[in-house]
């Protein structure tokens, strides 16, 4: 037994995921953590800090430097009954493992007629605004959410981080778990002993409101909440919805909201074309056709490669661009 943190604690997302991993490993001896530098170093963001010390090198595996190998061996470990949690060091480095993820991980359950299960979690710190060099600030979630057989989720705050990682690990489906690295250090109170108040695959109303709906996920939730605060000062009430689950995409709360407000702004860091916002816009228009006062407005990263750090803030959606989009919906 290791020192399992308990009680209500003020944690940032890193510490919350660490606590969630720790609890999962305590509860189930089959849970493994694997990836580059996850051992002694505790990962480049320290998300796995202390786990190797407490659970040993057999359960917290510093792997060779090869992402296809990380995912491919995780498949084998899962077939043997283990529950591997793979860390991909940064968003842009998941692609060497993309083939194993989309052609093997996503399909094994289906191909085997349901006989085989791959309870693998692939953790990916993602998104920008951290002043990094190339390949360290990407938002590739759409390239996973398009693939049947994968679940794709992302947390936006320490409480969700703590519970969602545990829920993802408990699930018998493979889960791609996106972590908003620009929010890693933001803190909140987490009751480590409670129960999650939402299923993994549910969206959450982060802020109720009446005039327009704003949907976002991961790092952009805080941006939208900030925008909502600013809008409130101007007398406009925005409802902010944290999607949390990108596949399956849970839009019930969005439909409800849009049927009340008639206006939706969808925000993400990923490129606009074929980003998650495209699917949200398409579905909301299908489901709320007669309620929409304006077409869904998308506030996203542009359709350019992620730019150099000195210009990334202009590339990324921010409070002003969100409010502009809200204004646009009112211009219809």
């Amino acid at each position: 037994m290791t020192d399992q943190p308990t009680g209500v604690q003020k944690l940032n997302i890193i510490k919350a995921i660490n606590a969630g991993l720790r609890r999962s490993m305590e509860n189930d001896a089959k849970v493994l953590v694997m990836g580059e530098d996850v051992g002694k170093l505790g990962g480049v963001f320290r998300v796995t800090d202390g786990l190797q010390k407490d659970f040993g090198e057999d359960r917290v595996i510093d792997t060779p430097l090869a992402e296809s190998g990380i995912i491919g061996t995780a498949v084998g470990l899962a077939l043997r009954g283990y529950r591997p949690v793979c860390e991909i060091q940064f968003d842009g480095f998941v692609f060497p493992g993309y083939d194993q993820i989309v052609s093997q991980v996503a399909k094994m359950h289906f191909r085997s007629g349901g006989r085989l299960r791959l309870p693998i979690v692939i953790r990916i710190p993602y998104g920008g605004s951290i002043g990094a060099v190339e390949h360290h600030s990407e938002s590739p979630e759409a390239t996973f959410a398009h693939i049947p057989g994968l679940k794709v989720v992302t947390c936006s705050n320490p409480l969700d981080a703590y519970w969602m990682i545990q829920q993802a690990i408990r699930l018998d489906d493979p889960v791609v778990f996106f972590e908003p690295k620009r929010r890693y250090y933001e803190k909140a109170e987490v009751d480590l002993d409670g129960e999650p108040d939402l299923p993994l695959e549910s969206a959450r109303v982060a802020l109720p409101g009446t005039d327009a709906t704003v949907a976002a996920y991961g790092p952009m939730v805080k941006t939208c909440l900030d925008a909502a605060a600013a809008a409130a000062d101007d007398g406009r009430s925005l409802e902010v919805i944290d999607l949390r689950s990108l596949s399956p995409l849970d839009l019930r709360a969005v439909y409800d909201s849009v049927r009340r407000t008639g206006r939706l702004v969808m925000v993400h860091e990923a490129h606009r074309t074929l980003g998650v916002g495209a699917e949200v816009a398409a579905r909301v228009t299908e489901q709320c056709f007669y309620s929409l006062e304006a077409p869904v407005q998308r506030v996203t990263g542009y359709d350019t490669p992620y730019p150099p750090a000195r210009v990334e803030e202009e590339y990324l959606p921010d409070l002003d661009r969100v409010l502009d989009a809200v204004d646009r919906t009112f211009a219809y």
């Binding site: 060779p64 491919g72 093997q104 085997s112 489906d173």
Partner: protein, 379 residues
């Protein structure tokens, strides 16, 4: 001077491990004979039977494809000895990660060959029970399964199921792949993983000298078994058309794995006697003379000659096996034709362990669409 020897001036090639000549003569080997000392006449006869049945499953499947009953078939013709020899080296607790051509291995592991036909018929994507048979799903993406095998072997290590000395407990994994596959990143990463973790896995490369139309020299300029040394584990080249040699070499490699001594690369030097698959036309890219040359090394004929030579079987035995093969063929034909098509809505099953709301809705829309035809037809 520390520059390693280049391809040109290598030391003489070590002999291919061979225990049976193409003429069926037993080649003694100080090293390998003890590894098959327990093999009785019964064992040889039973291996012969596996070889013949394996080939018959194959030829029957090719015929079924020609008749339009299968969408495709990847023939194992010529590779029976490599498959049966290596498969017979497995213990029940060992695990197999195949490509798409290991039909005779499947047979040895007790997989119903009708299930192989079902896959190539397009009825499903692998309906055998991998957990029960320890024979995992066919993998078509070249090389991907070598990493699964290595990960599985890492799991065996974690379960403490190597190096205990208990012959019913210590387990190993065998990964099958082709000569072409050795060029994939995944296969090389598997070598690295297995080496660094000392995982109990045997990499069994059936070098049939062709990757569709590409000859071996498009994948390597040195013999493939040598690849292993560079990764820090042993490599051995065996006559892939010699079932006894394949048995002995694989037994040794599997035992090393089970004993906790890590991975081995076995290169079974063989030849793809047929087309790559039923859609391929090898006359476009290779000479008939090559095929004729390899016919003389047929993996079944040499066992038969060995058995006749050593009085291990009489004509009645051979006739019996032939008869059994005929019966199998009849069964396969009938069973293949009788395979029911999947129901359309079955595609929504097993995408996830629990169906998602989206998929429930999509299934309903398919059902409504299909029902609309029935309604129309009923009108």
């Amino acid at each position: 001077m520390t520059v390693e020897t280049a391809a040109g001036d290598t030391p003489p090639e070590p002999e291919l491990v061979q225990l049976l000549t193409p003429e069926g003569q037993r080649v003694p080997s100080e090293h390998y004979d003890p590894l098959i000392a327990d093999i009785t006449g019964d064992d040889v006869r039973s291996m012969y039977r596996d070889l013949v049945l394996g080939r018959r499953v194959d030829s029957e499947a090719v015929a079924l494809q020609r008749q339009g009953e299968l969408g495709l078939w990847a023939s194992l013709l010529g590779q029976e000895a490599a498959q049966v020899g290596s498969a017979r080296a497995l213990r029940p607790q060992d695990h197999v990660f195949p490509t798409y051509r290991e039909h005779a291995v499947a047979l040895c592991r007790g997989v119903d060959p009708v299930k192989l036909l079902a896959l190539f018929r397009g009825v499903d994507q692998g309906s055998w029970d991998a957990v029960e048979t320890h024979f995992h799903l066919y993998t078509i993406v070249i090389g991907a399964q070598t990493l699964h095998a290595t990960g599985y072997a890492m799991g065996i290590q974690r379960d403490g199921a190597i190096g205990t000395g208990d012959p019913d407990r210590d387990a190993a994994v065998i990964a099958y792949f082709g000569d072409g596959a050795t060029s994939q990143g995944d296969v090389n990463e598997a070598f690295i993983w297995a080496s660094v973790t000392n995982a109990p896995v045997v990499f069994f490369c059936q070098n049939n000298q062709w990757a569709i139309s590409e000859p071996l020299e498009r994948q390597t300029r040195v013999p493939l078994y040598r690849r292993a040394a560079g990764f820090g584990f042993p490599g051995v080249r065996v006559d892939g058309n010699d079932v006894l040699a394949c048995l002995a070499v694989t037994r040794e490699a599997l035992q090393r794995a089970r004993d906790g001594e890590g991975p081995t690369l076995v290169e079974a030097f063989t030849y793809r006697m047929g087309a790559h698959t039923t859609t391929d036309d090898p006359t476009r890219y290779r000479l008939n003379a090559e095929l004729e040359h390899w016919k003389l090394k047929d993996p079944i004929e040499r066992v038969k000659a060995f058995m006749v030579r050593g009085d291990l079987a009489d004509q009645a035995f051979f006739d019996g096996v032939e008869e059994e093969a005929d019966e199998l063929a009849v069964h396969l034909r009938a069973a293949c034709r009788a395979l029911p098509d999947p129901t359309p809505t079955s595609i929504f099953d097993h995408v996830y362990v629990e169906p998602t709301p989206d998929l429930v809705a999509q299934r309903e829309s398919m059902t409504a669409h299909l029902d609309s035809f029935e309604e129309e037809a009923a009108r």
